[in-house]
């Protein structure tokens, strides 16, 4: 696996590549001229303010939307995904902040949703419930989530745990590219740590990770490559060694705007 990954990197063929991609929703141009590469064993962070177009960007990669212009390549081959299933079949899995799980369904059912294991038994081909329970429990405990019971509704887990179940599911089903839309947005410090640690493990296992976040600190903790979007366009694109946390924070907050805001708030306090 590692050898294969190295070869792919050497050959310079990214797992996913976007070239000059644009997307408009009717008259709203949500994205324009965005280029991005997702390499195996790297975390690519996409940052930006509300409405910058981050979700739009990853929805194109994950097959929920199609780009209006530009090209999307997977393993160097140009593709247009018609549905999330097609993206999944190419190994691109997405974990959405708000639509990661079905709250009232049991943990194991959520884990296997859409990829259920079935027994060959006429006429119904029933679910292999015991097998799926066992696998779900084992996979979750590998990433440090110890549940009393995989039969409990997933809505009873904490936000971080739910997020981790969704990530573990994607990894288990052979994702090569893992797209995470603001996985830490609703989480406290400790829970965010759990998720970030898991992202790092996925990266070390050779996955290409795309991390969407508002938080430059979280991005800088795990990121190898940073892209900042502003009103649908790229305002920064750099590797980890080309950029500091301060620069990233500055870019995120809109640079000068932040300084103006800082002095304004200072004065207000006096």
């Amino acid at each position: 696996m590692a050898a294969m990954v190295d070869m792919a990197v050497d050959a310079g063929v990214p797992l996913v590549e976007m070239v000059d991609v644009g997307k408009s929703y009717g008259v709203i141009q949500a994205l324009r001229g965005v280029s991005l590469r997702v390499n195996a064993g790297e975390v690519t962070c996409v940052l930006g303010d509300n409405g910058a177009g981050k979700s739009t960007l990853i929805k194109i990669m994950s097959g929920l939307h199609q780009q209006s212009e530009g090209a999307l390549r997977v393993d160097g081959e140009e593709v247009r995904f018609g549905s999330p299933r097609e993206a999944l079949d190419r190994g691109i899995a997405t974990v959405y902040q708000d639509l990661a799980v079905v709250p009232l369904m049991e943990v194991w059912r959520n884990f296997f949703l859409g990829s259920e294991v079935r027994k060959r038994l006429w006429p119904f081909n029933p679910l292999d419930a015991e097998g799926m329970r066992r696998t779900a429990r084992a996979e979750l405990s590998k990433m440090g989530i110890e549940l009393d019971d995989v039969n409990q509704p997933i809505g009873t887990l904490s936000g971080g745990q739910r997020q981790c179940v969704a990530i573990a599911r994607a990894v288990y089903f052979g994702a090569r590219v893992l797209i995470l839309d603001e996985p830490t947005a609703a989480l406290g410090v400790k829970q965010s740590g759990v998720v970030l640690r898991y992202i790092a493990r996925a990266r070390d296992a050779g996955l290409g990770v795309v991390l969407i976040t508002h938080n430059p600190h979280h991005a800088y903790l795990v990121g190898d490559h940073f892209v900042v979007l502003k009103r649908g366009q790229m305002s920064l694109d750099g590797k980890r060694d080309e950029i500091t946390l301060d620069e990233l924070t500055q870019q995120m907050a809109g640079g000068d705007e932040l300084e103006a805001l800082t002095s304004e708030l200072r004065r207000a306090q006096v």
Binding site: Y96, V102, L104, G114, S115, N125, M143
Partner: protein, 350 residues
């Protein structure tokens, strides 16, 4: 290709605490509340209405329950899948009218009319489903539309063809005997006459419950009603599942319609209105969540059984049947409160 992440040292994995007891897990099933309610009602009527205690009464109660219960299964599945069907009551009558009038007017074997009615009923379900998934209009509105259309069609077409509001008697036509055996016969066990719909009902409940809990389709139904967007994101064919559920309602509407036709031999075209709520109420009493994603078809059966017990129980107690609606209202409220409470327990943190 399946990857696994690095495993932490074995010692770091704490031992998994024991599973919650079976009793607890049974307690938090969707149908638990309704089961308690059904037992209470059973005891109540057995106490106040002596005829209720007889075995023949049990058969009558079961029959009354089955006529609601068969449709309540499909309606419950649809609700678990996050949708409603207000046309469920009148489409039963549409199916019965189709089979009856088509066979009679064209002098066909009743089997032909019955199969055409099946196609019509499935088509009604399909149209409902297709409109809901394609337009995104809430199913409450779409099926309110089809409800009104079918109600009008039932009456208008019947009057146009027969000149009255009812269809002609079909009991001397070809195929009648075999069809009556399938849909409306009865048999005797230990001196008690049991209607065949009771058996069909139990069979449908068993199959649907197995499908819901133990098959992939069932998993998808729960997911589609629980969170359609996240189901779609992991590759569940949300639209197909929803259309399939509406078609299932169509199928059982046909079945119920055929029972209606072959047990009375003639169909009143204005019937069926209001039954859609009976089905929905049975499903809700049985623990189906109005917003979807939770419920059971066994629950819908218990809900229908409560219906049957109450209608018959009031008769056996010698009360004015008007009390039925009052009882129904109380039961619906009690059931929803109990179900809410059970679900809270089920989804409690920790």
């Amino acid at each position: 290709m399946s990857q696994t992440l690095e495993r932490p040292p074995e010692a770091a994995v704490p031992k998994r605490p024991a599973r919650p007891s079976l009793l607890y897990r049974a307690f938090v099933r969707p149908e638990t509340g309704s089961l308690v309610g059904a037992i209470a009602i059973l005891i109540f009527f057995a106490a106040v209405a002596p005829p209720f205690r007889q075995l023949t009464s049990a058969a009558t109660v079961l029959y009354a329950s089955s006529t609601i219960g068969i449709m309540a299964i499909a309606v419950a599945l649809l609700m678990i899948g996050g949708e409603f069907d207000l046309s469920a009551g009148v489409s039963v009558v549409t199916a019965a009218l189709t089979a009856s009038m088509l066979s009679y007017e064209l002098s066909l074997n009743l089997w032909v009319g019955t199969l055409v009615a099946l196609v019509v009923a499935l088509a009604i379900g399909w149209v409902n489903g297709y409109l809901v998934v394609r337009t995104g209009i809430p199913s409450f509105l779409v099926t309110l539309g089809t409800f009104l259309m079918l109600q009008g069609l039932n009456l208008a077409v019947t009057k146009m063809i027969t000149g009255t509001v009812a269809t002609r008697n079909i009991s001397d036509m070809d195929g009648y005997d075999s069809l009556r055996a399938v849909f409306a016969s009865q048999f005797t066990i230990g001196g008690v006459a049991i209607r065949v719909t009771v058996l069909w009902w139990l069979l449908f409940v068993a199959v649907s419950s197995y499908v819901l809990l133990r098959t992939r389709i069932g998993n998808w139904i729960l997911a589609v009603g629980g969170n359609a967007d996240s189901a779609r994101a992991v590759g569940v064919p949300v639209n197909k599942v929803k259309v399939g559920l509406f078609v299932t309602v169509g199928f059982l509407a046909w079945f119920t319609g055929m029972h209606l036709l072959y047990s009375f031999n003639t169909v009143q075209s204005g019937e069926g209105v209001g039954n859609e709520f009976r089905y929905i109420i049975a499903a809700v009493i049985g623990g189906a969540l109005l917003t979807g994603g939770y419920g059971s078809t066994i629950g819908s059966a218990i809900g229908a059984f409560i219906f049957g017990m109450t209608t018959q129980g009031i008769v056996y107690a010698g009360w004015d049947p008007d009390w039925f609606k009052f009882f129904l209202g109380i039961m619906l409220l009690l059931a929803t409160v109990t179900n809410l409470w059970v679900r809270r327990l089920a989804t409690r943190r920790g």
